[in-house]
Amino acid sequence: MPAIAFAPEIHTTSARPTTAAPLQPVATLANVTKRYGATTALDGLSLALRPGEIVALLGPNGAGKSTAVRLLLGLISASTGAASVFGSDPRDPSTRSRIGAMLQVARLPETLRVREHLDLFRSYYPRPLPMEEIVRIAQLDGIQGRFFSQLSGGQKQRVLFGLALCGDPDLIMLDEPSVGMDIEARRGLWQQIRTLADRGKTVLLTTHYLEEADALAHRIIVINKGRIVSEGTPSEIKSRSAGRKISCRTDLDIEYLRTLPSVTSVERNRDTVVVTAGEAESVVRVMLLQDAALSNLEIASPALEDAFLALTSSR
C-alpha cells in the first residue's frame, strides 16, 4: 500500500547546528505515478529528502528506483503528480546547477582524458569546485592524464563520482555508485559521502549492496513495484520486518514459546532454542522468569538482507 515516506521530526547529527525554523525538504516526489504504456513504474509514490541526510533507495530490479531518480533529475516527467527540487521544476537549468548526478553510464568518451572530462563538466556550473578539490575527493590523484579507456572499472566509477561533484551541488544522486569498486575504494567513497552529508549536502543513493545502505543511510526507503513498502532508519527497518533472533539453552516448551506475544517462529536444535520475535525484550523477560536455568542467551539483529527480502517478497 502506498505510504508517505517522510516523518515530521528532524534528524540532527553532531556536526550540524540545530536551527529554530523547520527545514524545508530539498526534493519531493508528490503522489507520483509514471506509466510506460501498460506498465506502471511508479504508483502514487511520495517521498521527501531533507537537507543533510543520506537516503538510500532500496528495491529489487524493476522496483522503480531508477524511475524515481530520473524524475528527480528532470530526465522524465510524471504521468501524474509532481517532482520538485529546491522548490522548482527539476528541468530548470538553474535547478540543475545545484544538483550532481552519478548514473550508470556504460562508458564515457574514451579518447578524452580524465581531467578533460572534469574540465568540461565544471564549465557547465556557475560556481564549480576547484579541479584539485574534485580530484582529491573522488580519489583521482595520479590518473588525471589518463584516457578514459585506460582506466580500471573502479577508476571509471570514481571519475563518474567526480563528475557528480563538479558543480559543488547541494543535492547529489548516486545510482549504484560503488559497482566495480574494490573494498578500499568503496570505503573511501563511503567516507566521502558521509563528509558531503556532514557539510549539509543531501545525498540520495540507490544500491543493491545492503551493507552500503546499512553503513551510510540515515534513512532507508524500501520500494517495490512502484510503491513504498517500508521506510525508516536502518535499525528500524531491520527490527520491523523480521524481528530479532533470541537464542539460548532452555527447557521451555516450544509450543508455549510460540504463544508469547510478537513471536513469529520458534525452532529447537537439541537443547538450543531460537525464537524470532518482534519485541525481543518482552519475550526474553518472560523466558528468564519462567526458566531460572536458562543459559547462553544471545539476541541478534537480523541481517538487513533478511529484512529486505521479507519486505519485498510478499508484496
Binding site: P17, I76, L103, L112, E116, Y124, Y125, G167, D170, G200
Partner: protein, 267 residues
C-alpha cells in the same frame, strides 16, 4: 553550514561569457575526441583521399570535352568526403553516446542541449574542411588541377553548407538507428547514395535509370552545387539544387524533432 547552503540564492541563468565558454569547450573537446579516435579520423580522411588518388589523380591532364577530369573528381570527392564526416561523426558518434547512457548524464547537467548539438555540427564542418583541404592540396600538387582563389573560397563555403546539411541527417540517424548497428547502417546508406548521385563516376556515364532517380538524392544536389563552382554542373538550374538541399535539411530536422519529442514523452 546547512542553513548557509539553504539561503544561498538560486543560480542565475548563465551569463553570455559563461555560455560562450561552455560552447567553446564543448566544441573543442568534441573535435579532439573525434580527432584522437583513429578509427574515425583516419578512415574518414583517407577513404576520399584514396578514391581521389585512384580515380582523380590518375586522370591528371585528361580532358573530357571542356571538363578537366581531375578537377571534376576533386569536386565530387570533396562532397563524398564531407558527407562521410558528417554521417559518421554525428550519426555513429551520437548513437553510441546515447546507447552508453552518456547523453542522459549530460542532459541531467546544466549543459545547454544546443551546446552539444552546436559542438557536433561545428566538428562535422571542421572535418569537412580538413578533408576538402587535403583533397585540394593533392589535386593541385599532383593532379595538375588549377584552382582560382575565388573557386577555393566558394568550395570551402559549399563544404560548410553541405556539412551542416548532412549533419542534420546524422542527427536523425542517431535517433533512429540502434547503436551497435550504426556504422553498418550508415555505410549501407552513404555508399550507394553517393554512387547513385554521380560522386564516384560522373552521372552521365551511369545508366539512364540512375540518372532519373539521382535528383531525388540530396547527395546529387550537393554534388551539382559543388561542381557548379567549376562550371561543371549538369543542365538543371542551381535554384532547383538549392531547393532540393534545403528541403532535405528541413525534412531531416523536422523528422528528428518529431522522433525526439516522441521519445521524450515515452521516457
Amino acid at each position: 553550514m546547512s542553513t548557509a547552503s539553504l539561503i544561498r540564492p538560486v543560480a542565475m541563468a548563465p551569463s553570455l561569457a559563461h555560455s560562450l565558454r561552455i560552447y567553446s569547450k564543448e566544441t573543442k573537446y568534441e573535435f579532439f575526441k573525434l580527432l584522437r579516435a583513429k578509427s574515425f579520423s583516419l578512415s574518414v580522411i583517407s577513404f576520399p583521399v584514396m578514391f581521389y588518388v585512384i580515380f582523380g589523380i590518375a586522370n591528371r591532364h585528361v580532358q573530357e570535352g571542356s571538363v578537366d577530369i581531375a578537377k571534376y573528381m576533386l569536386g565530387s570527392y570533396a562532397c563524398f568526403g564531407l558527407i562521410g564526416a558528417a554521417l559518421f561523426g554525428i550519426g555513429v558518434g551520437l548513437a553510441g553516446e546515447r546507447a552508453a547512457g552518456w547523453l542522459e548524464l549530460k542532459r541531467a547537467s546544466p549543459m545547454p542541449p544546443m551546446a552539444y548539438l552546436f559542438a557536433k555540427c561545428v566538428t562535422a564542418v571542421a572535418f569537412g574542411i580538413i578533408i576538402v583541404s587535403f583533397l585540394t592540396m593533392l589535386g593541385v600538387a599532383f593532379g595538375g588541377v588549377s584552382l582560382s582563389a575565388h573557386e577555393l573560397v566558394r568550395m570551402l563555403g559549399m563544404t560548410i553548407v553541405g556539412a551542416i546539411s548532412f549533419a542534420s541527417m546524422g542527427l536523425l540517424l542517431a535517433l533512429v538507428i540502434p547503436a551497435n548497428a550504426a556504422a553498418g547502417i550508415v555505410n549501407l546508406i552513404y555508399l550507394p547514395m553517393s554512387f547513385l548521385s554521380g560522386l564516384w563516376i560522373p552521372i552521365r556515364f551511369l545508366p539512364h535509370w540512375v540518372q532519373r532517380i539521382a535528383p531525388m538524392l540530396p547527395t546529387y544536389h550537393l554534388g551539382q552545387l559543388m561542381l557548379n563552382i567549376f562550371g561543371y554542373a549538369d543542365a538543371a538550374s542551381m535554384a532547383s539544387h538549392w531547393t532540393g538541399l534545403a528541403g532535405f535539411t528541413m525534412l531531416m530536422l523536422g523528422a528528428g524533432w518529431i522522433i525526439f519529442n516522441r521519445s521524450q514523452q515515452n521516457a
